[in-house]
């Protein structure tokens, strides 16, 4: 329920969610034009998670992510120009083109390098939390990761370490396979291969506070994250969230299988004929449409206001596309710099 948010917070959250959506659409467009080096993973369908959590954070908090980091970067307030240029491997990117899609970073926003290794980022996030504790800072570390990370021993060790010293960590497990048959042994690339059916059980037996949150419910995500952050800062230890989102039909390899989002579907409730087989996406699972609908229903915003936000966002992303396209590839000399800190 977004009623927990003020009107301004609602509008800002929707803006960020739309920004992520338009950003990812731009990535997919760029990929169709063979401009994206490497394989990449979009955040479509999970926007309410990143935006909801990030809205509760302080600039001094650390944010850590994985291969699926675009949405987290944008939600944290990263410059879409630099974020997109980085994904295209351009000099104007956050890392001058050295990192790309799997390794999004915005160091000025306390968003260090994302790890492309499944579960590799979890121990690092526990480490930044430890750093905050030692430095007596009133901050937290937030780490986003997929349900697949729970299959790695690294996740287990990281949870145990955080639990032992009650470190200020928010573990945000984004389960984007909520619609997948959760019986073990499915063996699909993105399907659960866990004998632990309730992902929260692991953290629970470690004495970590756990919560399952609906990833369509921006307000629920926001409230849960805010409370967890407060507890963490007060020395009450980490929280483990399983945020359940429904798999975007295009999640396995990004093509715009549900088309470019038409925000007016939030009030027309139309399902475009050519996407009939993905009707659920339009009716229920798209967090952008769903949050917009909630705002309309609660009278937080009119559809003209929503449309105005979308237009602003689209302009901003258009500008980012132009920026990224125009940005040159990095100079060959730069290949050899930055191995060591200066």
């Amino acid at each position: 329920m977004i009623s927990v948010l003020s009107k301004d917070e609602c509008l800002e959250a929707l803006r960020k969610m739309l920004m992520i959506r338009r950003f990812e659409e731009a990535c997919i467009d760029a990929a169709q034009e063979n401009k994206v080096p490497g394989h990449f993973h979009v955040y479509i369908g999970q926007e309410a998670t990143g935006v909801g959590v990030m809205a509760t954070l302080d600039p001094g908090d650390y944010v850590h992510s994985t291969h699926r980091n675009h949405g987290h970067l944008i939600a944290r307030g990263a410059d879409p120009n630099k974020a997109l240029a980085e994904i295209l491997g351009k000099a104007g990117g956050y890392a001058g083109g050295k990192a790309g899609t799997l390794h999004g970073c915005a160091p000025d926003l306390n968003f260090p390098l994302s790890s492309g290794i499944v579960a590799g980022i979890l121990p690092i996030a526990v480490g930044t939390a430890y750093g905050l504790r030692v430095r007596k800072l009133p901050n937290v570390s937030v780490v986003f990761f997929g349900d697949g990370a729970m299959e790695e021993g690294a996740a287990y060790e990281a949870l145990n370490l955080a639990a032992l010293w009650k470190l200020p960590v928010l573990f945000v497990c984004e389960n984007n396979t909520a619609e997948v048959d959760r019986r073990p042994g499915g063996g699909q690339y993105h399907a659960p291969n866990m004998s632990i059916i309730e992902l929260t059980d692991l953290a629970r037996i470690m004495g970590i506070t756990t919560q399952i949150v609906d990833g369509l419910d921006l307000g629920a995500v926001w409230t849960a994250a805010r409370d967890a952050r407060n507890r963490a800062v007060n020395g009450e230890g980490p929280t483990f969230f399983e945020i359940r989102t429904n798999t975007w039909p295009g999640g396995q390899w990004p093509t715009l299988v549900t088309g470019r989002t038409d925000i007016s579907h939030a009030w027309t409730n139309e399902v475009p004929a050519q996407y009939e087989k993905n009707a659920n996406w339009f009716k229920r699972n798209d967090p952008v449409l769903s949050v917009a609908r909630e705002m309309l229903k609660l009278g937080v915003a009119s559809h003209t206001e929503i449309e105005a936000i979308d237009i602003r966002v689209r302009n901003e992303i258009d500008a980012a596309v132009k920026f990224a396209n125009d940005s040159p590839f990095p100079s060959l000399e730069s290949a050899l710099t930055d191995v060591w800190p200066n």
């Binding site: 990192a99 790309g100 790890s115």
Partner: protein, 323 residues
């Protein structure tokens, strides 16, 4: 045979092995060409569906399972996926599998094969571009095979199985769609034997896996410029066939080594070092080592390609030596 794609030869070889012996199983299910080439792999995976254990993302755990399954009489081919993920399983690959036969006084065999798509795949960025092969050469008791040519795949796979040695099979992300440039050798490949793929008298060019393909393409270029290059495919890194390299350099006096590994303690270092002792005095000119420089692999393709041991760099190096 020369026109078979490397990847197709690989799929066929694995299929033949599995048809031949029901104890051959696949653990992992992610490998053999990666997502990009999954259409080639599909028939194999359909035929042997029940003998493929599709595992969670738990490389340490399932590589360890491969070790155990080998002890219990299977021949597991453990597909790790991208080479960098082998690091997750390092304790099993480097500190369990290779010690067991020796430490049991030869009584316990561990016929397991780990496989990964290693290397600089273009735009994998630093974390997905590991070349673990030089590190693996630092493991006693582990056989390391890194073929380059379609014709070698079947025989080497079978020889590895028959050797019953724990083996790491290095595939390269870019090798799948390559076809053999030169005809196969008359004698079938043997473990621990390098092959002179192209005989030549002016300069010896040594490679393996994708770098061998680059070396052969360089030889074609060099031929156009009147330089007759001898190209050696190392094929197995452990055991390493230094004799063939020495013998060739004994004739040419000149050496180029192409190796995607980082420079220090690399495959190229090992090859070059031969000429400080066993092959002392054979080089007429300083050897040219072409490695990927010691920087994490950047995403941006121009940077990445700038750092690679490309065909043109091999050509250039050979020309400088022969000049």
């Amino acid at each position: 045979m020369e026109h078979t794609m490397f990847g197709e030869a690989k799929i066929k070889a694995v299929g033949d092995l599995m048809r031949d012996d029901e104890r051959v199983v696949i653990i992992g299910g992610a490998g053999f060409g990666g997502l990009l080439h999954s259409q080639y792999v599909k028939p194999l995976f359909e035929e042997f569906d029940s003998r493929i254990l599709r595992t969670p993302i738990a490389e340490l755990g399932f590589c360890g399972m491969g070790v155990g399954a080998a002890i219990a009489g299977l021949y597991p081919i453990v597909t790790i996926g991208t080479g960098s993920f082998a690091f997750e399983a390092w304790p099993q690959i480097c500190n369990e599998a290779p010690n067991i036969t020796y430490m049991s006084g030869g009584q316990v065999k561990v016929p397991v094969m780990f496989q990964a798509l290693v290397g600089i795949r273009i735009s994998g960025a630093a974390q997905h571009s590991a070349r673990p092969q030089a590190m693996l050469m630092q493991v006693a008791g582990l056989q390391v095979i890194a073929p380059a040519r379609a014709a070698d795949v079947g025989p080497l796979l079978k020889a590895a199985r028959d050797s019953e040695r724990p083996t790491f099979w290095i595939d390269h992300a870019l090798l799948f769609e390559e076809t053999d440039l030169y005809p196969p050798a008359k004698t079938p490949p043997a473990l621990g034997k390098a092959e002179i793929v192209r005989a030549g008298k002016d300069v010896t060019i040594v490679g393996y896996s994708i770098d061998l393909v680059r070396c052969l393409k360089a030889a074609v270029e060099l031929e156009k410029e009147g330089i007759d290059a001898e190209v050696i495919d190392l094929r197995t890194l452990t055991p390493l066939d230094w004799e063939t390299v020495c013998e060739s350099v004994g004739r040419t006096g000149r050496l180029v080594v192409a190796d995607e590994c980082y420079p220090a303690a690399s495959v190229a270092s090992e090859i070059a070092s031969i000429f400080a002792d066993k092959g002392f005095g054979l080089l007429k000119k300083p050897a040219k080592r072409l490695n990927f420089p010691a920087v994490p692999v950047p995403l941006s393709p121009p940077l990445e390609i700038h750092l690679l041991p490309t065909v043109s760099k091999i050509v250039q190096a050979a020309k400088e030596l022969v000049a």
